[in-house]
Subunit: 227 residues, 2 copies
């Protein structure tokens, strides 16, 4: 143990590699803010990153770089990466749901509103969110925390679809039947979007496929949801 070893820089640290940072980020120190505000900034950075690069891109260092802070600060605010990934997923998907609900609720006629909902879900304008969904299903197999978050959001989506269906359905329709149709729609939307994600272009339009079955189930006139 006596040998030079350990403190190889003797006493003075004069030989510090001036001019080039030996490591770290090389970046002006982040302004001090309130924990609340900082947490919001980091969450926003994580969400933007996940939408652009996928949930797999959520690393301490990537989120930190995006937010312009040190990676240790991200670790300071997030109890673990598993939690951060699950929370980011929830934030993204919950925001998407709120947005879609708002978009749909602006339409008066129930059938037209239903059509708007389905069209929005399938027109490819939310491919980034679809990517997050697919990443989530994959990662959820290894993360029970994320799995629970995924189930929660799926239930919320199911409820939203049921609402839209109920308004356009004949009053005679039972809740049980609405649940069934909603499950059908949700499965189709998720399946079709996953397909689109790898550019698997079936010759037929996804909206037509779903509209056709929903029209029948809700006893709507043919073409009611495709125009």
């Amino acid at each position: 143990m006596s040998t030079a070893g350990e403190g190889d820089g003797e006493g003075d640290g004069r030989s510090a590699p001036i001019g080039s940072a030996p490591s770290a980020d090389a970046r002006p120190r982040a302004a001090r803010t309130s924990p609340t505000e900082r947490a919001a900034q980091l969450a926003a950075a994580a969400e933007a990153l996940a939408l652009e690069e996928g949930l797999d891109a959520l690393t301490l260092r990537a989120v930190a770089a995006r937010a312009g802070v040190a990676s240790s600060l991200v670790a300071h605010y997030a109890p673990s990466m598993e939690r951060l990934v699950a929370d980011t997923f929830t934030a993204i998907v919950a925001a998407e749901l709120a947005e879609v609900r708002a978009h749909a609720s602006a339409v008066r006629d129930p059938a037209v509103r239903l059509r708007a909902l389905l069209a929005t879900l399938l027109d490819g304008s939310r491919d980034d969110v679809t990517g997050v969904w697919v990443d989530a299903w994959s990662i959820a197999r290894r993360s029970s925390v994320l799995a629970e978050a995924v189930r929660e959001q799926m239930i919320a989506w199911h409820a939203a679809i049921v609402d839209a269906l109920r308004a356009a359905a004949p009053a005679s329709m039972r809740e049980r039947e609405l649940d069934r149709v909603a499950a059908h729609v949700l499965a189709m939307v998720d399946g079709l979007n996953a397909h689109e994600l790898v550019d698997y272009g079936p010759t037929v339009s996804g909206l037509e496929l779903i509209a056709r079955v929903v029209e029948r189930e809700l006893s709507l006139p043919e073409g009611a949801l495709t125009r």
Copy 2:
């Protein structure tokens, strides 16, 4: 530079840490075999590993450990991990398709055969393969090689479903319509299976959902595919 530094172990290297391997795998040397056989062994190891742990678990070291060889040997046989992942995906899914086709072709009556096909795809007996599919959709966003492999297998599956549908459909049905129904079925199967993967249990059975719409589309009597 003169200081002790560099060769801190003087001349002789006698102080080798006997008794405990400083690194590597600690494993009897693998028997020498023909390249063909070894390649098959490694492919089998990769497939088993992917089915058990997902496509993300496919690393040089994990596959090597599974096959009982050095990781460098895996690298020697695979041009790159991206290729190995894509090839493993293709092997798994192609084998599944062949197996399902064989299973279905053992049934005479076309409607019963169609039912057998759908039931097999949805009874959860192939959750491991479903996991591979979901992993593939996720990874395919970052790997064009895998994306191409995914598209190929989706096309093959589409064709298989069309075949099963055609046999059970009225002769008057056009190819265009069969394509449409097949696309519907494939999207539903993939969506429902992804849902099942995170234990999202809709109250309704997936088979019932699909059977209902297929029966209508093929003009089969109600319940023809659920019994």
